[in-house]
């Protein structure tokens, strides 16, 4: 833990340095890069040690703090999230320095860097806090700093709107969390997590209240449908490295919170597993359908976060069902899959957002209908984005495949046993549908943004981004590849987290689960090697014959080559699927004699949330009539309140 504290201190110091040396940005930024990099590296060491099976001591702050001791500690669950936070946090902070370079002098760039450092530190404290008060403080710092980083360009209406939605949503969630801990902590010795675990809610009703509050409070943060309405707005509005932290890390805190509640509760009820499974399937399928309809690169990626949260929830749901029905292997696999997918999604989603930022930086637009042909102009961005796409779609040999495979395996494990848990296997079909649709969506993105011909001069004149931007991309892509190719090293660690959530696994079952590591590793390595060998063989065989690479694309017999305007657009590409899902997708189609475009509105936001808020405002206006600003009236209210209280006490009979 000493290293962890040192790491956090260095990250905070980095933020302080860059803010203090705002007048000397070159020095401040150099120091910032160095300190953030060092701090994240140091902080990750104890997390990796815990994942490797070693213990870590707790940090305790006793004395004049509210709510009992303030405890900070790292267990296997925290460690999985800490690794994600430090890797993605470092990449995004370093990327941010290069990305905001052109805003230097026009905006408070140094302050923004400092906020990023503060955000990363707050995230790390959220997952290590072991008591309610420091947890909620870190949670609120994360939420508020998150807001401040989102509204980096407040002159854009879209940014103000996204930021406001985010702020409203996150505080609604926090309210639910206060209620959650108030209900749970009522009667416990103090507010450390250990005391909460020792004093779990007993009655079914109390458990239901706690779990529904957790689902709302953490669900808003995670972006579970229908609480996702703020997510695409906020994530698209923020600068790209902030979007990457938001989608990669901040929404994972909702998942972490749900997992922590499950750990503390020890034995969650059966219905909670089914609710998680259903929410997972709904979030996954709707998220990817909505993503398909987007033409704004960052909004599209944001909706994919909703989808991936759905996949994580499927794993969580399978895990809870495994615990509740008494199948430890199913439980461990499900929880391990969920934790692993949270880590993997943090890596590849931040990679994709940073890649989108690189594209937006080079072309000045996020509208994919105006892009195209960037693979030739921005080869590094294109290659890393391709790696991220393969990973997020869950294809071997990259990391996304492994975590989805674990979630599937947990569901399968449920399927072949007797008892109610076997019906969970049907969720595997939803997962398969999500996978198929995600593939369609990322084919669309890769093709329309990076392949073919540029559709606009902005894309035609694009240049590769500076190394300060492409290096973090390469680092994150490398992480996806390493995890993907060497599951034998990673899987035991995520099983540790999984078995922690499952309430411990009988020791004789661990080898049973671990037995699959070696063949999976052999499989991904063999696949990667097979592709490489086949590629080399083909190159060697065709060496004698020089291929022609200077012809036009075949235009099916027409004498003129295809032009950029004749290319398939993103709208056309997604149209068949969106037609099939039209009732769910909320898509409006605009057709003219020579063009076809689709536009999507989020049904939840447009049809429930906004009218709902108008209703709230209407009621609030009514209530405001009581408040006329006249002192006599106010005094009358006070007197009336006292009288009502007195009457209440008299009738209750306990006043004396």
């Amino acid at each position: 833990m000493t290293l962890f504290v040192a790491g956090i201190s260095l990250i905070l110091l980095a933020g302080l340095t860059v803010a203090v040396f705002g007048r000397h940005p070159s020095f401040g930024q150099a120091a910032f890069r160095f300190l953030v990099g060092l701090g994240c590296a140091l902080g990750a060491i104890p997390a990796l040690a815990v994942l490797a099976g070693r213990g870590a001591s707790d940090v305790r702050i006793a004395g004049a703090v509210p709510g009992g001791e303030w405890v900070f500690g790292i267990d296997a669950l925290s460690a999985v999230f800490l690794v994600a936070i430090f890797v993605v946090g470092a990449a995004c902070a370093l990327y941010g320095v290069a990305y905001s370079g052109h805003d230097q002098g026009r905006r408070p760039v140094s302050g923004a860097h400092a906020l990023v450092a503060l955000l990363v530190a707050a995230l790390a404290l959220v997952v290590t806090a072991r008591a309610v008060v420091p947890f909620l403080i870190a949670w609120e710092v994360m939420a508020v700093v998150g807001y401040l980083t989102i509204v980096f360009e407040p002159e854009r209406a879209e940014v103000r709107r996204g930021g406001l939605l985010y702020l409203v949503a996150t505080h609604t969630g926090t309210l639910a969390l206060f209620a959650l801990f108030a209900v749970w902590g009522n009667g416990a010795i103090d507010l450390t997590f250990a005391s909460l675990a020792a004093h779990p809610p007993v009655s079914a009703a109390a458990i239901a209240v706690v779990l529904w509050l957790a689902l709302v409070g953490f669900g808003v943060k995670a972006g579970i449908v229908p609480l996702h309405f703020w997510l695409p707005e906020a994530h698209a509005a923020a600068p790209s490295h902030i979007s990457a932290i938001m989608s990669g890390l901040v929404i994972k805190m909702g998942i972490y919170g749900l997992m922590r509640v499950i750990v503390l509760l020890v034995s969650p009820p059966i219905w909670f597993g089914w609710v998680l499974l259903a929410l997972g399937a709904i979030s996954g399928i709707l998220g990817v359908i909505w993503a398909l309809a987007q033409h704004d690169l960052k909004r599209l990626l944001a909706f994919h976060s909703v989808e991936n949260i759905g996949i994580i929830l499927l794993g969580l749901g399978a895990g809870v069902l495994g615990v509740a029905y008494g199948h430890p292997v199913m439980a461990t696999l499900g929880f391990a899959g969920a934790a692993f997918h949270a880590l993997n999604h943090a890596l590849f989603k931040s990679l994709l957002f940073l890649g989108a930022g690189s594209v937006a930086h080079a072309t000045g637009t996020r509208d994919i209908e105006r892009l195209g042909g960037l693979a030739k102009r921005m080869p590094r961005t294109a290659t890393t984005f391709l790696i991220g796409s393969v990973a997020i779609v869950g294809l071997p040999p990259l990391n996304g495949f492994l975590s989805e495979w674990l979630v599937y395996r947990s569901l399968f494990q449920g399927g072949i046993i007797t008892g109610g848990a076997r019906f969970a296997v049907v969720a595997a079909v939803a997962l398969a549908l999500i996978g198929g649709l995600a593939l369609a969506c990322f084919v669309k993105v890769m093709a329309v943004v990076f392949l073919g011909l540029p559709r606009d001069t902005a894309a035609a004149e694009a240049r590769e981004s500076v190394p300060g931007i492409t290096r973090p991309l390469a680092g994150l892509a490398g992480a996806c590849i390493i995890i993907g190719l060497l599951p034998a090293f990673v899987l035991p660690s995520v099983f540790r987290a999984g078995s922690l959530l499952a309430g411990g696994l009988p020791p004789d079952m661990m080898p049973l689960i671990a037995a699959a590591n070696a063949p999976v590793t052999a499989f991904v390595l063999a696949l990667a090697a097979g592709i490489a060998v086949a590629w080399l063989v083909l190159r060697v065989l065709s060496r004698g014959r020089r291929a022609r690479a200077d012809v036009d694309t075949w235009a099916c017999g027409y004498p003129l080559p295809p032009t950029a305007r004749m290319q398939y657009t993103a709208s056309s590409f997604a149209a068949p699927l969106l037609t099939l899902f039209r009732p769910l997708a909320g898509v409006s189609v605009k057709r003219t004699s020579h063009s076809f475009t689709t536009h999507v509105v989020d049904p939840v936001l447009a049809e429930f949330m906004l009218p709902g808020w108008r209703g709230v405002r209407h009621v609030a206006d009514r209530i405001r009539r009581m408040q006329r600003g006249r002192i006599s009236l106010q005094l009358a209210y006070v007197v009336a309140a006292v009288i009502v209280l007195l009457i209440y006490l008299v009738f209750r009979g306990g006043a004396t």
């Binding site: 079909v429 392949l451 011909l453 699959a516 499989f523 065709s542 690479a549 036009d552 099916c556 068949p576």
Partner: protein, 303 residues
């Protein structure tokens, strides 16, 4: 890893180009024509391998990598099938996810390679391919789940190997429905009638053929061969569900596999000569029907 399973895999890879020929021959005979030789695809492959490739100036390395990734992923998927009727060369719990993901990887690579040309025709085909595939994937899982629940096994090697024979008397209806559903999937995944017409000459109506419009020479040969292997893999899958061969001796098992593949290819030909292609918007309904079949099979096992 048993020798007989590897030998069967090698045999499958050698005879794969025969199957499209069998389908075409069946169709020709049934419609009163002579048809191309059964070995036509071997001749085509030989011719294409001897040519040089032509690449559009629009394309990148993705265009050249597509065919290779597609072929390797299909062959890797075949590794999970117990082609000798007993055990697969490769197996682990939940490897059906790997099987499905490998098919998806091949599709991803090939579709991106097509889109790399910037041609609207290829875009059209790619859009249709991924649309149908998003519905085909859940159906494939429904079939596998039925097999899984019928046999209690978590790997394809187990689901299709020795335990399948014992499962048939217990779960004949479910397994039959799953097998039927797999045959529909074979038609969809391999772009046969009623989903796609390999004999069409109009690019606007194509699905698979139009994606590979710009590939030529050895690259096209790899794609054609990879497609043949994919057809053989699905043929083997259907054969293994309907004909559990774990009780047979090795040579008899091999002959049964060969027979099953040829019968499946002939069945494809029969379907192609007896019905026209569906409208593109009807294909998801066909897949939903196949999914419903498999789902009934699954429900029967969940009683």
């Amino acid at each position: 890893m048993s020798g007989s399973a590897l030998a069967a895999l090698v045999a499958l890879l050698v005879i794969a180009p025969l199957l499209p020929g069998v389908a075409v021959k069946t169709k020709s005979v049934l419609t009163g024509r002579r048809g191309a030789p059964v070995l036509q695809l071997y001749y085509d492959l030989w011719k294409l391998v001897g040519k040089r490739s032509v690449y559009s100036a629009t394309t990148t390395w993705i265009f050249r990598a597509g065919p290779v990734v597609m072929l390797v992923s299909v062959v890797a998927a075949a590794l999970f099938l117990p082609l000798d009727g007993r055990a697969a060369p490769a197996a682990f719990d939940g490897d059906l996810v790997a099987f499905a993901a490998l098919l998806a990887l091949g599709r991803f690579a090939l579709v991106l390679a097509g889109l790399d040309t910037g041609s609207s025709f290829e875009g059209m085909g790619a859009s249709r391919e991924v649309t149908f595939a998003s519905f085909a994937e859940p159906v494939l899982f429904l079939c596998f789940l039925t097999l899984m629940l019928a046999t209690g096994q978590l790997s394809l090697s187990g689901m299709l190997g020795v335990p399948l024979l014992a499962a048939w008397p217990r779960a004949a209806a479910s397994l039959g429905l799953a097998g039927l559903s797999l045959f529909v999937l074979l038609l969809v995944e391999n772009s046969r009638v009623p989903v796609d017409d390999p004999a069409t000459h109009l690019e606007l109506t194509m699905v698979h053929e139009v994606i590979v419009l710009d590939h030529s020479g050895p690259d096209l040969a790899i794609i054609l061969y990879g497609s043949a292997v994919k057809l053989a893999v699905f043929g083997a899958l259907v054969t293994e569900v309907f004909v559990p061969r774990s009780g047979l001796s090795a040579p008899a098992s091999f002959v049964a596999l060969l027979g099953g593949l040829i019968i499946t290819a002939a069945a494809v030909g029969v379907v192609e000569s007896s019905m026209a292609r569906l409208r593109l918007t009807r294909v998801p309904q066909l897949l939903a029907g196949a999914g419903a079949l498999a789902f009934f099979g699954l429900i029967l096992l969940m009683r």
